[in-house]
């Protein structure tokens, strides 16, 4: 059983998981696509939908919510340790 993740806008490079996902767990988007979580992603947290290079913007709601502070892989948990505000 895969966990649902919600991508709010087509520009978004992260989605929010609706339930806890363990590392290696399958995540399903509403468009029917799937990806695999590389790390544990707690409910309500963000998962990267694509590789994001350090310094690149991260989008949610179709708007920039900050920049990657390290290289992020598809399936990684995105939170305060790899996402920071733009100075």
């Amino acid at each position: 059983m895969s966990a649902r993740a919600i991508r709010i806008d087509v520009r978004d490079n992260v989605a929010v998981v609706v339930s806890d996902v363990e590392a290696g767990g399958s995540v399903r988007l509403d468009d029917g696509s799937h990806l695999t979580a590389t790390q544990r992603v707690p409910r309500g947290n963000k998962i990267a939908l694509a590789a994001i290079a350090a310094g690149d913007p991260i989008f949610r709601y179709g708007e920039e919510i900050g920049v990657a502070t390290t290289d992020i892989a598809r399936g990684d948990h995105v939170h305060t340790r790899n996402l920071g505000g733009r100075q």
């Binding site: 919600i6 709010i8 929010v16 609706v18 707690p42 409910r43 309500g44 947290n45 963000k46 949610r60 709601y61 708007e63 920039e64 919510i65 900050g66 995105v78 939170h79 305060t80 996402l83 920071g84 505000g85 733009r86 100075q87």
Partner: protein, 388 residues
């Protein structure tokens, strides 16, 4: 049901309409808190409001206190007021009465140092209040519509789902209220940091856009000064725990409460709107102070979204609580009126928006919200400096 947004309220001499007809007993100074509290114990039907302000403040903060207390007295949900002062404070009964002016509503005052102490004051206030309550009970009702309503928007204890469920569902209700001629106030300037782009696209003209930019830039500068390197994470621990990572992420979710109507005016704290439709007010992100500013501006109801589960209400102004997830609704059903978490399990934002608007109409028609039942009266005035 909400297509016919009409209710019977109390039309005040200034033209605004109350959805409640409360008797307010208001301390002008912290030293009057005991007497006000005593009257509240004796007469639970009054709205008894105390606060921690008094001496040790400079001009700007005394101005904020005067404007806010006067605005609360003038709020259309307040039918009449008894002011309780001490006698040697800057915001005295006399000064506050002159700022309130003649609103055509019953207004009385008492000064503890002249009345002979706390118990004698409480006895006299109780007598004045009993008389005022009978007077208010005789006031006739008048019909009101959505165009008479000013709705304050608030969030507190946000989580990562707030911007996907509760806030955009409130936004749907706000769009419909505004389309019916009503007014909604978006506040919490701290929670506009990082969200100027989408707000700009909705301002009615360049002047409003410039006011909005200055307001948010100033707040961002203050936030950076206070929080330094942590400014981008101007979040409460509960926000971060729930999955929110940056202030911009929280802000973008927060502004979803305001729906999609154009922004028509930018107000100072506690300033009364001069236009109808969607309005922005400059307030702290701190929910207690933000609600107080909007109530002082005349909001007759507040819709408050919460992810973590806030019980906060407001004295004299019904607060409708909307949860962003079903877990917190089930855990805190004593405090939360509507569960927008059902959006995650298939309900649409329009459907939850309709529920919010229907409840708001029932509240205008007299139904009590959970916060009213719980008497969760939170009141806090925004200040610019520390006490001296």
């Amino acid at each position: 049901m909400s297509d016919d947004f009409t209710f019977e309220g109390w039309r005040r001499p200034d033209g605004r309409i109350g959805i409640r007809n409360h008797c307010l007993v208001l301390a002008t100074v912290v030293c009057a808190a005991g007497a006000v509290r005593e009257v509240g114990r004796r007469l639970p039907e009054v709205v008894a409001v105390e606060h921690p302000h008094g001496c040790g403040r400079g001009g700007p903060d005394i101005g904020l206190q005067l404007k806010t207390l006067a605005g609360l007295v003038q709020n259309p949900n307040i039918g009449g007021t008894v002011l309780v002062g001490l006698g040697c404070e800057p915001v005295s009964v006399g000064l506050l009465s002159s700022v309130i002016g003649d609103a055509g509503k019953p207004l009385k005052g008492i000064v503890i140092q002249e009345a002979g102490g706390s118990q004698k004051t409480a006895d006299q206030v109780e007598a004045m209040t009993r008389e005022m309550l009978s007077e208010l009970a005789e006031m006739p009702r008048s019909p009101g519509t959505a165009a008479d309503l000013t709705l304050a928007l608030e969030c507190g204890g946000s989580d990562t789902f707030s911007g996907m469920t509760a806030n955009p569902a409130v936004g749907k209700a706000v769009d419909r209220l505004v389309a019916m001629g009503g007014t909604a106030i978006l506040s919490e300037t701290t929670e506009m940091i990082g969200a100027l782009g989408p707000l700009f696209r909705r301002t009615e003209n360049d002047e409003i856009a410039a006011q909005l930019k200055k307001m948010v830039d100033d707040q961002e500068a203050v936030t950076r000064q206070i929080l330094g390197a942590f400014a981008d994470r101007a979040l409460a621990p509960g926000n971060v725990e729930s999955g929110l990572s940056t202030i911009a992420e929280k802000s973008l979710g927060c502004i979803a409460k305001a729906g999609s109507a154009p922004i028509r005016e930018v107000l100072e704290y506690a300033q009364r709107p001069s236009k109808q439709g969607l309005i922005v007010m400059d307030t702290p992100g701190y929910d207690a102070e933000s609600m107080t500013g909007m109530a002082a501006a005349g909001a007759q109801a507040i819709v408050f979204t919460t992810g973590r589960g806030s019980p906060a209400g407001f004295p004299g102004v019904p607060v409708v609580k909307v949860s962003s997830n079903s877990d917190v609704y089930q855990r805190m059903s004593d405090d939360i009126d509507i569960d927008a978490g059902r959006v995650l399990s298939g309900m649409t934002l329009d459907e939850v928006g309709e529920e919010i608007l229907s409840l708001l109409l029932r509240v205008c028609r007299g139904e009590k919200t959970k916060a009213e039942i719980n008497r969760q009266d939170v009141f806090a005035i925004a200040q610019t400096h520390q006490a001296l």
